[in-house]
């Protein structure tokens, strides 16, 4: 009797599973047919021609083919991406036809109450990131500094950056804190990456934090000293990761926060209010596009690295930051804005 009941139970479960799978497949088909022939707007918060724009155009091309729709890339380069993300948050378009590519540090800006932030990261639909730049603490390629110890010997090592709030800014301040370079000074305000690189190269500053693209090639202006990540970078296997250094526990937590904030970088977003089945569908689609051989080939040609991250992981990374206590936020704010910007 028990065996019969067990069989019935199994049949019931199997039937339910088939119904659920069928329903979800039907929902996916429904969502797929919704997108067919439509126009999807992919908002890029930076200027055309930059890294974000190139990734977005590659993704737009791949997703458009898969969805059988037209994806148009719209550039809204203002206030470090703030205007674009605020607009996405405020948009009444919840039909899933508007997407955006998130800049790095979105959650960090929210908890630190950066000027102009109107959005709430929890309400966006996180679809996954195509790539998160690995950053390095780097010196001029012809400089005598071979290690962090050499930099520490300076009376006041100077670090160049664009804005303390720009993506590289928090990484720079936290790396200085983690590496215990107490006498370091951040010189902020350079108009762009080019000016930062030149400032380090001509000796106006001693080091900076830059992404892989600025360090590769025999004619690169900068040379990496430390990877600001949990592991070494395949491009520079001899360069130590920052976690290999002796880091105070409280600083380690800040470092983790800055590193866990990276998942928002280049992640596709939907505005608040988009139906869950559309978000689930778009998450799967994004993952397929991130691994699209045609996209990977084009990205390789453009020297754009691809290291995909799922929507769930991106959301989890963002939530880690949003859960920080006010005291932790205050400490973070002090290190990023005040301690080294003298």
């Amino acid at each position: 009797m028990k065996g019969k009941q067990f069989c019935k139970y199994c049949i019931f479960l199997a039937t339910m599973a088939i119904i659920m799978t069928g329903a979800s497949a039907a929902a996916a088909v429904d969502v797929a047919s919704f997108y067919r022939g439509k126009v999807v707007r992919l908002v890029v918060p930076f200027s055309p021609g930059g890294g974000y724009d190139l990734y977005a155009r590659l993704l737009g091309n791949s997703m458009g083919k898969k969805l059988k729709c037209t994806v148009i890339v719209i550039n809204k380069p203002d206030a470090g991406g703030l205007v674009a993300i605020n607009d996405l948050y405020d948009t009444p378009r919840t039909d899933g036809l508007t997407l955006a590519m998130a800049p790095e540090g979105l959650a960090l800006a929210q908890i630190m109450k950066a000027p102009g932030v109107r959005y709430n990261c929890r309400k966006f639909g996180w679809l996954g990131s195509i790539n998160q730049d690995v950053r390095f603490l780097a010196v001029a390629s012809d400089s005598p500094f071979k290690s962090i110890a050499d930099l520490k010997k300076l009376k006041q090592p100077k670090a160049a950056t664009t804005e303390v709030t720009a993506p590289a800014g928090p990484s720079l301040a936290i790396a200085i804190e983690a590496l215990n370079m107490e006498n370091a000074k951040i010189v902020a305000g350079y108009p762009g990456s080019s000016e930062v690189i030149l400032a380090v190269r001509r000796g106006e500053a001693d080091f900076s934090v830059r992404a892989t693209a600025h360090l590769i090639g025999k004619n690169a202006f900068l040379r990496p000293l430390v990877v600001i990540d949990g592991k070494r970078a395949p491009e520079f296997p001899n360069i130590p990761a920052i976690t290999e250094f002796d880091i105070k526990p409280e600083t380690k937590k800040m470092l983790d926060i800055v590193m866990s904030g990276k998942p928002s970088e280049r992640s596709l977003l939907t505005p608040p209010g988009v139906a869950l089945e559309k978000i689930t569908f778009l998450r799967k689609l994004a993952q397929t596009s991130f691994r699209d051989p045609e996209l990977l080939k084009a990205a390789q040609k453009m020297a754009l690295p691809v290291s995909p991250l799922t929507g769930e992981d991106a959301e989890a990374g963002v939530n880690t930051i949003l859960k920080l206590s006010p005291k932790e936020v205050e400490k973070l704010r002090y290190v990023i804005f005040d301690k080294y910007v003298r």
Binding site: E163, V164, A188, A199, R201
Partner: protein, 494 residues
């Protein structure tokens, strides 16, 4: 080397390539003529079409359209006092008064010839200066950039036409407006009244349209007449344009100096073309035999900024190609276009793709000459705009100006900012405050603050103690005090 030059230039003269360059030049002129659109917009719109295109063709199209936009922009600056692109703002100071005096053809002839030749010289200098670019870029740190900008700011006094005091007040007002938005480096917002749209500050195009274009349109509507003053005698447009072209050769030494200023400022990353034209204009005025006629239709005031305008692209292109360092926002876009082609500009680029570098240089030269020639051909027709009654012309131009303010960033807030600043522009016009001085303060204020902060932070208060800084300071003092000193000495003699 010679092989690369020959190969690079031979590519340009293939029929398909010639056609593409011609069409891109036409497109660039149209983008330049329409306020709000510029060379950077041209590149931004056409970059997606270059996916999968031959790199020579792709880079030629983008270079041609981008480089010639400022030539198109000079047409609207001269004819209707509306700068087609940001760097054309200095051209209208003397170009438009010349138009009002019935010399539109001459002003256009001078502007277009200076543009074409400036672009030619910029291209030639681009090719010649490749070995010297690294030392120049390395020599210009933040203190040197700061003093270069201060040199530009020193012309505020020179731009105050009737009253020096009013000129200074106008310049300070411009400086004040430039401080709206994020403070450099800090990420803290200032004077934004809580508006997200103002976080990045007031943008150049809406401001130039509000300060120069809109007040002129209002004045035109109130007068009920044509742009050209009544009773003005007209010459045949072709003869007038030819006269303007000859003016450039009459003032060839000024043209060469202004072109050199353009190339030089273009090379220095982070300073930008908007600075180049004002330094060129200020330099022309302070070294002119008739500085009092500047702002009232002196052709030298058209030649200098237009020469610098187009030659600066050679300088900006130089750092982009030779070092992989974009000297301006537009060059950053061009760098992105290179990456799409799988090409990384930089020192290795010149070794591996020297032929492509010469193709781009050749296109830069060719498109500037072609652009100037096309504009000269259509100029006689365009000049007729100045004889249309204001009741018909002004509403049309107001629509174009409003559209220009909007399509600069696809932002309606820019339109509101423009209307708000129009009140200021109109008040300054009526009360005789110098609008060029205001605009110069606005353009250079943000950069001056930025480089002052960096210089103080990295070098301390002794930041001016570098040889190049001291030379620039000395040049600034001499250029500012030269004319008052001469006047003083002449009075002493009398």
């Amino acid at each position: 080397m010679l092989d690369s030059i020959a190969q690079g230039l031979a590519v340009i003269f293939q029929p398909g390539m010639m056609l593409a360059i011609f069409l891109a030049t036409l497109g660039g002129i149209i983008f330049g003529i329409i306020p709000g659109l510029n060379g950077m917009t041209f590149m931004a719109i056409f970059i997606p079409f270059t996916f999968g295109m031959d790199p020579y063709l792709a880079m030629s199209i983008l270079t041609a359209g981008y480089a010639v936009a400022v030539t198109g922009g000079s047409v609207t600056a001269v004819l209707v006092n509306v700068p087609g692109t940001g760097p054309n703002s200095a051209t209208l100071l003397d170009g438009f008064p010349m138009t009002q005096q019935g010399q539109a053809g001459r002003a256009l002839g001078a502007a277009l010839t200076a543009s074409g030749l400036g672009g030619l010289e910029g291209g030639v200098i681009l090719a010649l200066l490749v070995p010297a670019v690294m030392p120049i870029v390395m020599a210009f740190g933040s203190p040197e950039c700061f003093f270069l900008i201060v040199m530009g700011l020193s012309f505020i006094a020179a731009l105050g036409q009737e009253s020096k005091a009013k000129g200074m007040v106008s310049g300070l007002l411009g400086l004040l407006l430039s401080f709206v938005g994020y403070g450099p480096g800090t990420g803290f917002a200032r004077f934004t009244f809580g508006s997200t749209e103002l976080l990045d500050g007031v943008k150049l195009i809406p401001c130039s349209l509000a300060i120069f274009g809109m007040p002129e349109m209002i004045a035109l509507m109130r007068s009920g007449r044509t742009i050209v003053k009544e009773g003005t005698e007209f010459r045949a447009p072709a003869a007038d344009i030819w006269e303007g072209a000859k003016d450039v050769f009459r003032h060839w030494w000024l043209h060469m100096r202004a072109s050199a200023i353009g190339v030089f400022v273009g090379i220095v990353p982070g300073v930008g073309g908007d600075v180049a034209v004002w330094i060129a204009y200020g330099h022309a005025k302070t070294t002119s035999k008739h500085p009092e006629t500047f702002g009232h239709g002196n052709v030298e005031g058209v030649i200098a900024p237009e020469s610098a305008n187009n030659s600066k692209e050679g300088g900006a292109m130089l750092t982009t190609l030779a070092l992989g360092i974009p000297g301006s926002g537009a060059m950053a876009v061009l760098l992105g276009a290179f990456l799409i082609q799988g090409i990384q500009p930089g020192p290795a680029f010149l070794q591996e793709h020297l032929d492509l570098a010469f193709t781009i240089t050749g296109v830069l030269i060719l498109t500037n000459l072609l652009g100037a020639a096309i504009c000269m051909l259509i100029a006689p027709t365009l000049i007729k705009v100045t004889r249309i009654r204001s009741q018909l012309l002004a509403p049309f131009l107001l629509c174009i100006i409003t559209l220009g303010a909007y399509c600069y960033r696809n932002s309606i807030s820019d339109v509101f900012v423009m209307f708000g600043l129009t009140v200021l522009g109109w008040a300054m016009r009526q009360l005789g405050y110098s609008r060029p001085a205001f605009f110069l303060g606005f353009v250079l204020g943000g950069l001056a603050e930025r480089y002052f902060n960096i210089s103080m932070s990295s070098h301390g208060w002794k930041f001016f103690m570098t040889p190049i800084s001291l030379v620039i300071i000395a040049t600034t003092i001499i250029s500012v005090s030269y004319q008052p000193m001469m006047v003083f000495l002449r009075k002493g003699k009398d």
